[in-house]
Homo-oligomer: 451 residues x 2
Amino acid sequence: MIGFSQDSASGWIRSYEIDQLKPQIESAHELLHSGKGPGSAFTGWMKLPDSLDIHELERIHRAADRIRAQSDILIVIGIGGSYLGARAAIDMLTPTFSDLLPREKRSAPHIVFAGNHLSADYLYDLLETIKGQRISVNVISKSGTTTEPAIAFRILKQWMEEQYGREEAQRRIYVTTDKSRGALRKLAVQEQYETFVVPDDVGGRYSVLTPVGLLPIAVAGIDIDAMLDGARDGMHHWQNPDPDDNPCYRYAACRNVLLRKGYQIEVMVQYEPSMQYLTEWWKQLFGESEGKDGRGLFPAGVANTTDLHSMGQYIQDGQRILFETVLSVEESKHTIVVPADDDNGDGLNYLAERSLHEINEKAARGTILAHVAGGVPNLRLTVPERTPYWFGQLVCFFELACAISGYLLAVNPFDQPGVEAYKDNMYALLGKPGYEQKKAELEALLAERDS
Amino acid sequence: MIGFSQDSASGWIRSYEIDQLKPQIESAHELLHSGKGPGSAFTGWMKLPDSLDIHELERIHRAADRIRAQSDILIVIGIGGSYLGARAAIDMLTPTFSDLLPREKRSAPHIVFAGNHLSADYLYDLLETIKGQRISVNVISKSGTTTEPAIAFRILKQWMEEQYGREEAQRRIYVTTDKSRGALRKLAVQEQYETFVVPDDVGGRYSVLTPVGLLPIAVAGIDIDAMLDGARDGMHHWQNPDPDDNPCYRYAACRNVLLRKGYQIEVMVQYEPSMQYLTEWWKQLFGESEGKDGRGLFPAGVANTTDLHSMGQYIQDGQRILFETVLSVEESKHTIVVPADDDNGDGLNYLAERSLHEINEKAARGTILAHVAGGVPNLRLTVPERTPYWFGQLVCFFELACAISGYLLAVNPFDQPGVEAYKDNMYALLGKPGYEQKKAELEALLAERDS
């Protein structure tokens, strides 16, 4: 199972502090499992591995096989939770440089993301790149009207229909959307696209183990069944409300203790470059779940050891407002050994014949000691291997910890009211029908500021 | 020139607050230009565009041409400042998906980075990827003994000698190192590698416009002369110590005012995905320069609009401990227009025939208004275009602002004493000769924590 240790935060977290949180944790656990807490309409992710329709899962496998056979590039269109989970899994679980291999050596299409921002140049570059390539699209949007993915899809759909004709485009477009409502569902019915369901009771940032994440992940050739097994085992394992027996809840408790005593930033620390987007996924999960009502730890990430030569100085010796959570992978997939060198000009012969993974692990241990000595509490998570099973279990660990942590913080960990503010302003400034009043107000405000 | 505006922070920064800083800014300016401030031995970056040896620059061009002609992949080995600047420039200034194009459509080799961490799997994946490809290496290290790049270079050098024979490997290895001392210089002399100089008076994070950054950037096909022109023009332009007439110093002043009134995090906001690594470079520059003696703003970054669906909720409505600096690019390189659609099922026809870049800009304006209303001061930087010239000017802007800001904060913005702490612990735990005493101490400490 995933390991958790607070040994390197022992100077900051007393056992009686955890003890005093126990009734609150029990109450959070009760709220979550009874379905009576705030946001409980969006706790479907808890039942996910088991509630996933077996026929839908089977269709995902078949669609993934078809996409793999018919495509050089799969374009995944989605924003926020509709892309971060898939990207995290694909980056973590496929070989680092697979995009650089010639086609005959690759086992899966390139997977690129679009519709997650509004950059004209990015979309232009994408359109240039797909010329002469065999393309499929997986568009992921609950409503079908979110501006970023809707624009990208409108453009790519027209491109595909011109390129392939309507009928062939229909075979190359896969839609993940609401089960019955919304613009994208309607279009999918009309065009007979193959569709997958975004469940009603799962919010975007908790959706990686629904078809939202599973289809692109399966296209990448990753074993999604093992991933679901990992999540299932985690969910069954972390049922005990006592943080002494539940590392997931203990992680939630520790970060709340540290927040309550003034630490404002949690830095997620990785030592595998392939796990950078897992950190991005984690930032969305915790930032969006807890960052509300003036509350919440600010989530940040570093990728070591490279960032020890960047943010490392700040962490060692800047303002003492942060703690770290170090996520270590116990076994590497491959063994690389430092070779001996007769000259030893670089002075590395003391490492000769030793494994790089061991050296990485020693760097992590040494860094924790240094940062603790510098006044930074360190929590530590360990995952046995970088595999689909453990990815699934990590997802479950963080989702459950986030829900409990949010309830400890007294926020609704399943809503995101603050995301609407920018959208409303953007709609108004763009002149969307119905926003005329707001447009006038905002333009007056802008004129005043610019004057 | 690069524009700066504090109009969206006017509720937080009073004009008299800037006025009161003026004597301090003048003193910081004087310290920097007189060479009498802390760390003044490392202010060579200020004279860089002009002090760069014309023959060295000519050699960079020729080496880049040779590398381009003889390589499918250039591996750049370096950590911290020895890779972030080049990566930022290459990501920002080359087409987004160029790695996905078949060889005949690419104008430059793939450029990948190594020796910036200790992941065994990353290096394994790299060794698998380069099989059968034509490789060149640019190894960048002042000393040649920094653990991460030294290990990667030892392994790749042996690989190349086996693959190509020693003589051909010599033609494929390019060394950027100290002008006369160190392990890498010694090796380069012995092996007759072509070498370039890391100047003595420029620290890693200020080194992108030295051969450290310029060689890999030139290999990517980017106009490094235009880049140097941009930096030169910036440096000549921002000479006035009065922040009323110097946007670079005004940026430094504003962030110090906000820090002094309790804001602890500066979030760099981009709207172009290709500029994500510029943010990483900026994080190193400011984090490592200011994060010391218990001081400094914690630098973080978001890539919008995608992160509006991730960190956006926190920024809008979490703890009020942060401000934003929004870096906007005024003109896109390419024009993408939202096409009309007869059905209008996605409701986007109000945007039909409008440019995506304009929509992106409106999203940025709307977001600033939303975040200001949510209690987040917003500073704004504008750069006319995403070109080498403006990249160079941005580098100069941030480096100069960082130096002045650091002096306003009363730190040495040119050292990084905190980076040594992890290195020493790592050496000790790995059993490096000379660290026996420290090894015993640390292992006792670890045994105690783990018990």
